[in-house]
Symmetry: D2
Subunit: 148 residues, 4 copies
């Protein structure tokens, strides 16, 4: 596994009782939601706009076309869940993210996503606007150097 | 894409308002939960026991180690969501499922999962018990013929 | 507790592993969602339109202003959850529903809600349209006779 | 509405895209979950143990028997949701909490809950243990002075 770039954003999640199933660990069906929360938090942190603002204020959507997740260790409420999240590739009209979920120094899951940029109200593919392309570029160079 | 076997189980989901996000389609973070519901329904239908009964009554768990999903078309409350679900491979101590989500004749998503059988209370890998192996075998032959 | 009217609609929910918490019963935080699903199913059954269609096709919203729930017995995946749902009062611009959740012949929870009708895109109170008023009237007479 | 005590705990929630429905506001079915998260956070903050630790490490459960919520204004991802949470009454074997959800200086919802203390593995009512009674007492005096 290639290391993650130093510029990865850390999104912290307080895992709770209600996230857990009778096996006393976070239910698998919740974990993709944590991944998405982490990606949305990346946008909020770096662009100052999450999916909500992108869609409602700028008519830009980023629907997912693919999600891959490896589940490596159980997630529990015993520790905060640190989601390390970073953009890993940028296409003409697509953006990929990687998210590593970590608890108590151990990787719990590792995810890879692919989304496309769309004009939100008509759901047509589009290139990302210049400010977003400009924002993403340096992060992607970090990722590329590491081969992620 | 290889066709699905005729023995695939159809799990029907009533998608609702509360599953949808401001883009007016089911939120991506909900879709993996639909996939898991479909797999659990497969167990209930064919074994007469879902994950709850397996864990509590038989001390058998099947935690997921991998999930892959392709999102092909939006899911909405306009139609029922038919999840076609079938076991696609069986290892020494692992089981894979495939799930195709369909609405109004169109594939909305396609998922592949891998789980391991464990002794639930100690979380150690184990082979599936004979009744489960026997149950799965004929389904896997169907899947194998189709190369899924 | 007054009996429920014979015209109450039965919405059936398949409770699953993923709905349960480490106490091995459905997580309390999920139960209000079941109540809402039952009310939405009432609309779908009787009006042929749920909240999604009401909002998107008719510009009518019914946001909740109040929810009361009594939790009487645990909900588990051992039995289907039957949600008995009926409209219990109709004001100038408001509608109340009652929902009883039952498993294996036992009431698990009992809920009461109050919603207001609004013009969806401006979120202003309005009276319900005539077809909806006409639809609700006979149900409310049933409820009134029982004093619910 | 009586003012809340100065000792109320502030639990901050980052509302996201995925919490919202097509009306572009947080789905009503999610809001009770926020109330529960706030109460669990109160326990974590003051006792150093949330429901997960109470159940698994001390065999103490606090199942809910009642929830009341008034929804006063929409919740959106535009602002953090501040949940003010405080214990409001303590019975022989019961504990009540109040939670006010606030965004941008406006109360969005107000909730009242009642739970009972139980021996977790047998689900029998019990009095709260002395350390918990001692912890709660001063908070309840604050609440009592305000008549909440």
């Amino acid at each position: 596994m290639p290391s993650r770039p130093g510029s990865a954003y850390e999104h912290v999640i307080r895992v709770t009782w209600g996230d857990c199933d009778p096996a006393k660990i976070a239910y698998t069906g919740r974990l993709p939601g944590f991944v998405l929360d982490a990606i949305n938090a990346w946008w909020e942190e770096h662009l100052g706009q999450g999916w909500y603002q992108l869609e409602l204020d700028r008519n830009i959507g980023t629907p997912f076309v693919r999600l891959e997740m490896d589940f490596k260790a159980p997630v529990t409420p015993r520790h905060r869940l640190i989601c390390h999240v970073w953009p890993s590739n940028l296409g003409q009209s697509s953006i990929g993210f990687r998210v590593d979920g970590e608890q108590d120094g151990r990787i719990c899951f590792s995810a890879q996503t692919l989304s496309v940029f769309v004009v939100a109200d008509v759901f047509n593919k589009r290139a990302p606007p210049d400010d977003i392309k400009g924002l993403l570029q340096p992060f992607l160079e970090h990722a590329a150097e590491l081969g992620t």
